[in-house]
Symmetry: C2
Subunit: 277 residues, 2 copies
């Protein structure tokens, strides 16, 4: 299944973290000026801002908000942290509603040294606890399976199959999945699980970037599309064949790029998106 031809940036949303040095106001203006259709807002970028004003600014700029990032981190070692996690996710849902973001992306959580079984149990319980709040707010909780190299400290949900099983357990219109090529490209079951994800109505988001070789930092060395080995058009074809029609979101953590001129960086993203997504 080949992907649709991409002719412009209207279906592309940029994550504010991708241009981390920019204040959110600059990001909004620059994304809009460059012609991108959407923005995905990281909560850190809204720190100290009135969310209603951010929403208005995004609207005035002609952008759509693809998602709010991020909730989750449902793993804890004591009852206090458990309550904190629930409260923070409720807050994220409220922020998404205020912002007009259709979903909160969940980095589900893990706790160094804690068994994966225990972490997975806590994640399920966490989603279960905040789901009524999400449903009442009309905000989808999008489970993002993370690469297995993050299994100890970021997320114990490490394959699309695991995410599918979790989403299907809830079988709610307000639980979905964010498919990120960076985390999932290596999986021999990827095509099959994307199909399943779409069929069950759980395919909520699609994130792109690339895998660099060598990868010099586990967290902050993601590549720009085309810089690495991921066959993004093929995966996008699978996602579209599974019925996905939302934004292609560019989410890149890159220390190198954050140290460079952000306007040039946004130009590079634009060119790479049109050529390699």
């Amino acid at each position: 299944m080949s992907a649709k031809t991409i002719e412009d940036l209207s279906k592309c949303a940029v994550h504010t973290i991708t241009t981390k040095p920019w204040a959110i106001e600059t990001a909004i203006d620059q994304y809009a000026k460059a012609g991108f259709g959407g923005i995905t807002v990281w909560r850190d970028a809204m720190k100290g801002r009135d969310i209603d004003l951010v929403r208005q600014h995004i609207k005035d700029a002609g952008l759509k908000t693809a998602a709010l990032v991020r909730g989750g981190f449902f793993c804890y070692g004591n009852p206090e942290d458990r309550m904190k996690a629930f409260a923070d996710n409720r807050l994220a849902i409220r922020e998404a509603e205020t912002l007009g973001a259709p979903m909160v992306v969940l980095v589900c959580g893990a706790r160094p040294g804690q068994s994966l079984e225990e972490s997975r149990k806590q994640i399920r319980e966490g989603i279960e606890t905040v789901l009524p709040h999400a449903e009442a707010s009309g905000v989808t909780l999008a489970i993002e399976p993370l690469h297995p190299m993050y299994a100890d400290d970021r997320s114990a949900i490490n394959t699309l199959r695991s995410a599918n099983e979790l989403a299907e357990y809830f079988n709610s219109d307000y639980v979905g999945i964010a498919v990120d090529v960076y985390h999932l490209w290596w999986d021999p079951d990827l095509e099959k699980e994307i199909k399943r994800c779409g069929k069950k109505g759980n395919l909520s988001a699609f994130h792109v970037c690339d895998w660099r070789t060598p990868t010099e930092d586990l967290l902050l060395d993601r590549g720009l599309m085309g810089e690495g080995c991921i066959d993004i058009p093929t995966i996008r074809g699978w996602v579209e064949a599974a019925g996905f029609d939302g934004f292609n979101e560019v989410e890149i953590f890159s220390k190198r790029r954050w140290e460079s001129d952000q306007s040039e960086w946004l130009n590079d993203i634009k060119a790479a998106y049109l050529k390699h997504v």
Copy 2:
């Protein structure tokens, strides 16, 4: 299934790469002196040596050779490299036979930018090509599935399920699998796939070390057992329940540790093995 109690080092083999700064002669003497039962020889460590003499030295020291590391790297971009890969694997099999090592561990290979499908096809073809040589030499080819973070440049076989499928395709007494906790600990299917691996007679080797958080280098920052998050005794219990009765091999790539005093490092390994494996 809980693992058998470990009371001494008789079932422990150390990989020469674990004490990389030592010449193989020093490694043999020091491992034997410390009471380890086995050694796993990396081919680099034998460079310039007469393999018969190394074999004799290991025997005289009272050690057993667990394996020769490593063959594989079956992915290529042109016919010349293809023939080179075959030739090198035949050579590794001959070296294992000469050394008296029961198996050659295979890092199957990957080629940056080449599709995983193509790499997996080349890997299967590579094993197929050298297998008659392995069978004639009485040397097992042990497929080692590598962590997904190595899928672009080291191995396109990234889960135990993929390795099981590959080994079962050959269904030979001379194709097996090396289970390394570092690569596989995160997999929700691990227990099930270890069981399957044992049942099919493919469980050839068991490697231990630990996953450190944060991991500062994708290749050279493996942890000593107990330093990280991997529940090694549980996994060893699964491996033993699946019928495995061979060496527990300590394979640790660690820049930090290689820069330290290797005798103290070997002492640390000894203590960690008795406590955390």
